[in-house]
Amino acid sequence: MSGIDWRRAGRPAAFVLSTIVLAVLAAVVPYYLTAYSLYILTEVVIFALACLGLTVVIGWSGQVALAQAGFFGVGAYGAAFLSAHGFPWFGAVAVTALAAAFIGVLIGVPTTRLRGFYFAIATLAFGELMTQIFSSWKSFTGGALGLPVDLLRFGSLNPTVSLWYVSAAILAVSLAILWHVSRTRWGRCLRAVRDLEIATGSLGLSATKYKVEAFAVSAILGSVAGSLYGQALTFITPSSFTSTLVIEFLIVVLVGGVDKLFGAIVGAAFLVVVQEELQSVGAYQRLVFGIALVLMVRFLPGGLVPLLYSTVRRLTGRRRKVEAGPLETDPNPVVDVAV
């Protein structure tokens, strides 16, 4: 379900080794990059984390949820507000994430009953609603004037480096947990909800329960990522959480392959890098993004990740087949529409 199966490939040693290498790299990277590059890298990690949530709710349980920008904002504002009022930062993040989960359940329970398309619209509306509340609830969020953020510092490390370590660690832990989960019961049940739809009831699985749980998990991930984002921005205004953010998240998810965990990282890297490159082009940024999106859906509906996998396979000669993602095949095909 999440790509290359290291266990079945029979090389647990390679897995452990690569984890150690990555950990060392992550620890050492701040000393080799400029502050700006580190900031970009941190942005990638933060966006990847937010989109991990979308991988779970869209890719695994098959519901197109468009409220992630709202949860992202909840995370940013909540953590900033609470820590400004005396909460230790990690506590603030945790409490905000719980609140986001609660909101997710509140929104999820009535909406997951809906057919996919209506669910998308409902979550889009809720996401927009949350963003509007950020602008209007001035006493909490400072309205359009924004909210300053108390920056984290670990010992003698400056905020940028501290943020990098925290973000990388959180992403790593989240990936590990989700990876394990995808191979066990909860992951299977979500998959069943996505691919078997109506038949899940006969298996004793309550589709609604799992859909809501997936949505709540995505809310938590979005919220934690948002809290980190608040740190990155150092000053939060509602304009950071517009509907453009929804589109950006979708691009990440599309590029990475909507049900691949590691795809979130690839997609986030793509998004952030392209955004940086297009800064100079300014107004043309959206146009280029749109064209890229259109072309990608038209010719590469599985995202870049399957392309990467097949390149790796060709280079290493390994024969494992990568399963088709939900973008390429319709789990419930209607009929072949021949042109």
Binding site: T111, V294, L327
Partner: protein
Amino acid sequence: MVQVIVGGLQVGSTYALMALALVLVLKATDVPNFAMAEMGLLPAFVVWVLVDNQVNYALAIIAGLAAGVVLGVVVERFFIRPILRSSHFAIVFMTIGLFFVLNSIVALKWDSTPRTIHAPASATWKIGGTVISQQAVVAVVVGFVIMIALTLFFRSRAGVQMRAVAEDRVTPRLLGVRLPWVFRITWALAGAIATVAVVLAAQASVLNDQTGQTLILTGFVAATLGGFASILGAFIGGLLLGVVENLAGAYISTSAASAVSLLVVVLVLMIRPEGIFGQARVREV
């Protein structure tokens, strides 16, 4: 108060028309077209450019409609039909991408400077103490006429074929209906209707690169109210939405107005997911 309601009806008619375009495309080709408003925005600017250059209003409108039709057909043929075999995610992403592209094109060429399309009927009437603009009447009448026309169209041979395709992709083909042709007509019609919607919206407020964005959301809301099944439902839904929004804006606050459409869609979806006018569908095992 009456003025507020009339204004609401005017705006509501544009919502209704956008909803009609959305329902058309969704029902016949199963595509939720997030780019629908932008597909009407570009032709609307064509109209503006022509009118601004002293072209006769009626001609400009016809040109705009033609542009809408062409855009609809082009999008359908080159961007939608090739990926219809893919999953729903892909199609949604495609329309979102198209939204981006079209919106950026408009923004780059014309940015957010507000513009007006100078229409012949811009006078106002005074009836019993309230001022009613001719434009408002035009908007509602046009919306009504298009709604009736569509209803009649669906009784015609072409329309019946479209309805058959909306229900079931397989059987109509066996009976000789040519899907590509149905799809093309659907998108062409939708493009034209969306153009009308945006032009009327421009008359109600301004024409700039933002004009499409409220319209798409409210269009979806109105369509949802109508259960995505009924033309009359979408029309009434749109009018209702416009009126309620205007009332909220006048008597509560402006931010309440924009929140209204969001709350309405949420409420309706929770209470009656099939819309006010829709019918619950039985899923087969």
